[in-house]
């Protein structure tokens, strides 16, 4: 839940530092996010109406609402963006994108920001899960659930899920043996190669004295981390 921590508040409990303020805008981060998210992330169009936050399924658990997140991106406040749990609580349900009257597509913004954060080397349960997921899929070209759980949560996790797994297996819903696609070796090699192929060119942000520049580690592409990142790194 959002705690106020004695910060100044505006009407309706809005925090002062989360109000749109033309003076603080900074296009540097916006450029970077747009480069990552393609045409989808039309951040500059955001008018801070808050429709995205109003519709968000998961907004109660987030410390920055989707609206604030877009505002922080507009301001170039990378610190706040990266510290928030919003990125990892978003379940990409696209309600915000559907409702946005300005075509900002906050879910695409979220995915673009995630991709940048992951490339900077941020690590948590969500990124670890996505990473493991892709590894497992890459191996055979198809998911094998017990292996996924084992790699992610260890033996303890497998034991915890075992009763459910057995029930499912008895009903013929999951197979206890892994399956593969035709020619899995070729598949995994191609994915491996795709991971190491260069990212689309990002425009070089002009450095501005009063804002922290974002150190971008360009060598690790976003593909490495999640299937959803596969989509986010593309320009559709």
């Amino acid at each position: 839940m959002v705690t106020t921590k004695g910060k100044r508040k505006f009407v309706f409990g809005l925090k002062q530092d989360r109000l749109a303020d033309g003076d603080k805008m900074n296009s540097q981060l916006v450029k970077q996010v747009v480069a990552e998210g393609g045409k989808g992330a039309a951040i500059a169009a955001c008018m801070q109406c808050g429709t995205c936050s109003g519709g968000c399924t998961n907004v109660d658990s987030m410390d920055l609402t989707p609206r604030s997140l877009v505002l922080m991106v507009q301001r170039g406040d990378w610190e706040k963006v990266i510290k928030s749990n919003t990125l990892w609580l978003c379940s990409s349900c696209y309600i915000c994108t559907t409702r946005c009257p300005r075509g900002v597509r906050p879910s695409d913004v979220m995915e673009a920001v995630k991709a940048i954060a992951i490339r900077q080397g941020i690590e948590n349960d969500a990124t670890r899960f996505h990473k493991v997921f892709v590894e497992v899929v890459q191996k055979r070209g198809i998911l094998f659930e017990p292996e996924l759980i084992h790699k992610y949560a260890g033996l303890e996790g497998v034991l915890k899920q075992a009763p459910l797994g057995i029930q499912l297996a008895l009903r013929g819903k999951i197979s206890p043996f892994p399956e593969t696609v035709k020619n899995p070796l070729k598949f995994s090699q191609a994915i491996e190669k795709a991971k190491s192929c260069p990212q689309p060119q990002q425009p070089q942000p002009q450095s501005q004295p009063d804002t922290p520049t974002i150190p971008v580690v360009a060598s690790t592409p976003a593909q490495k981390n999640s299937t959803s990142q596969l989509v986010s790194s593309s320009r559709n």
């Binding site: 379940s91 349900c93 598949f187 596969l230 593309s234 320009r235 559709n236």
Partner: protein, 235 residues
């Protein structure tokens, strides 16, 4: 994107439309297809990866469809004439979830805010559809593993509403939503000390029942949450 594109390419090779039974898979595949068809730069990037896998496709003219889309928009007339066993007195809550109808530029066959195609299908089958506010709310599937507690909370909201509205079952069209609503139902019951016993069925099962197929053939006995109360109402 390349992974999703692989399936699209495999379908294109056989010149068949791709039918996805999972909203997530449907969404990602449709997204990949859209990129392949409309974005030249993306087409070249993905094609390079696909040809590494031994798949060479030069143009894409297939469509990616979803089960609900096909049932409601292609097979409506066929279904109308073949309903043998209308599901009188069964109350269903139709749950669409997120990726089935969103984002609209990728899906586009039903309203993203208030979809009704599944409601119409259930009504066609003779069932009574409850007014379900949470029909497009997210079940938290994508964050189930990494943020389990929050995902379960989101799922609970959906189950709560369906139960409160007096639904006999929830009808959906996504296996991931099913994982959350059905397989985690026991976890939620235990955690919040409640009792749902709410059968979760796939849209084809409801349609199959109305067409007069035997529940066994439809695999109604394979559910983790027993569908017996639901089947008892139909007989």
């Amino acid at each position: 994107m390349a992974m999703a594109a692989r399936n699209v390419a495999l379908a294109q090779k056989q010149n068949l439309d791709l039918l996805a039974s999972c909203s997530g898979c449907y969404n990602k595949s449709a997204r990949a297809l859209k990129a392949l068809q409309e974005d030249k730069e993306e087409f070249e990037r993905i094609s390079a990866i696909l040809s590494e896998m031994g798949l060479d496709v030069s143009a894409y003219n297939i469509r990616v469809r979803n089960v609900v889309d096909v049932l409601a928009n292609e097979l409506w007339d066929t279904l109308t004439s073949r309903i043998r066993k209308p599901l009188k007195g069964v109350k269903v809550a139709c749950y669409y979830g997120c990726l089935l109808t969103r984002p609209v530029d990728i899906t586009g066959w039903d309203s993203p805010v208030f979809p009704i195609s599944m409601d119409n299908l259930c009504r066609l089958c003779g069932a009574e559809v409850v007014d379900f506010r949470g029909k497009t709310k997210c079940c938290g599937g994508p964050i189930l593993i990494s943020q389990e507690e929050i995902a379960l909370q989101l799922t609970k909201q959906i189950l709560d509403e369906a139960k409160e509205k007096g639904a006999d079952c929830i009808v959906l069209a996504c296996p991931l939503c099913d994982t959350n609503l059905e397989l985690r139902q026991a976890d939620i019951e235990k955690k919040y000390n409640t009792n749902y016993n709410l059968p979760i069925v796939y849209i084809t099962e409801i349609v199959g029942l109305a067409l007069g197929l035997s529940p066994r053939k439809l695999g109604m006995d394979k559910h983790i949450v027993s569908t017996k109360p639901l089947l008892a109402k139909i007989r």
